[in-house]
Symmetry: C2
Subunit: 123 residues, 2 copies
DNA sequence: TTTTATCGTTTACAGATGTAATCGAATCGA
DNA sequence: TCGATTCGATTACATCTGTAAACGATAAAA
């Protein structure tokens, strides 16, 4: 992926990543979380920008296009996470962990999952 | 804090948070990481924006100002972390953890610190 | 076949952001 | 005292972002 995605673009990518692709612009618009309350035109603009960033691929289907993600979610997310942790926590996870733990915002399952991961790492 | 900070503004805040305040604009400019390579004018612009966002407080010192942070780092960071984890990982820390663990980007100390935190949480 | 709906494309436009230059007032140095 | 330096404030300007409207081609409906 060559460019970073804006928040709005990210929402479009989330729709693509979490659906069976490819999708038409209209399909995508329908699946955008309702809170966003975007017009179809807005989704089309975002798709144009995502095409420019080569984050989605178009496939011609008659007079229109079908869109699929051209970048995978995981590597992108890994990249953003690294950037975030570097910037706010000097690359260390523990302060982030401490930060979020304070607000009791880590639920039981999440905690258990982390412990499991830790156990793996320890060996 | 009323507004989010841009990347450039964040760098200015980092200087303030990590120094003995208050500082003059020139002091701040001198302490900005060299990679940024900003002119003094740029730092002044950023300070103006930070004043507008009420993220720094000015204290008059003769003809000039001394600046101090008006928001604390921790709560701001907590807020951003929450936003980040919500957006990319559905609010769960474990996937972030897994993501970063994969790139072997968690060093020994960091790991130990996390384990200590976990131990605390477990009780 | 004529109207209408649907595509992608182009254009729009305000606010945020990065990155300054300029300007007028004040002060410092000579 | 007078020019140089230093402040903050104002203005600049390109790019990115959010959020569309308008437009022209095509296809579907009547």
């Amino acid at each position: 992926m060559e460019k970073r995605l804006s928040d709005a673009e990210w929402d479009v990518m989330e729709v693509l990543w979490s659906s069976d692709q490819p999708l038409t612009a209209t399909d995508i618009a329908e699946r955008i979380p309702a809170e966003r309350d975007w017009s179809l035109a807005t989704v089309k603009s975002l798709l144009t920008r995502l095409l420019a960033k080569r984050a989605v691929s178009p496939a011609k289907d008659g007079r229109r296009f079908l869109y699929s993600p051209a970048i995978a979610r995981d590597p992108y997310v890994a990249d953003e996470s690294r950037r975030f942790v570097d910037r706010l926590f000097g690359g260390k996870l523990s302060p982030l962990f401490a930060q979020l733990a304070e607000g009791e915002t880590i639920d039981k399952d999440d905690l258990a999952a982390i412990e499991a991961l830790l156990k793996e790492l320890r060996q």
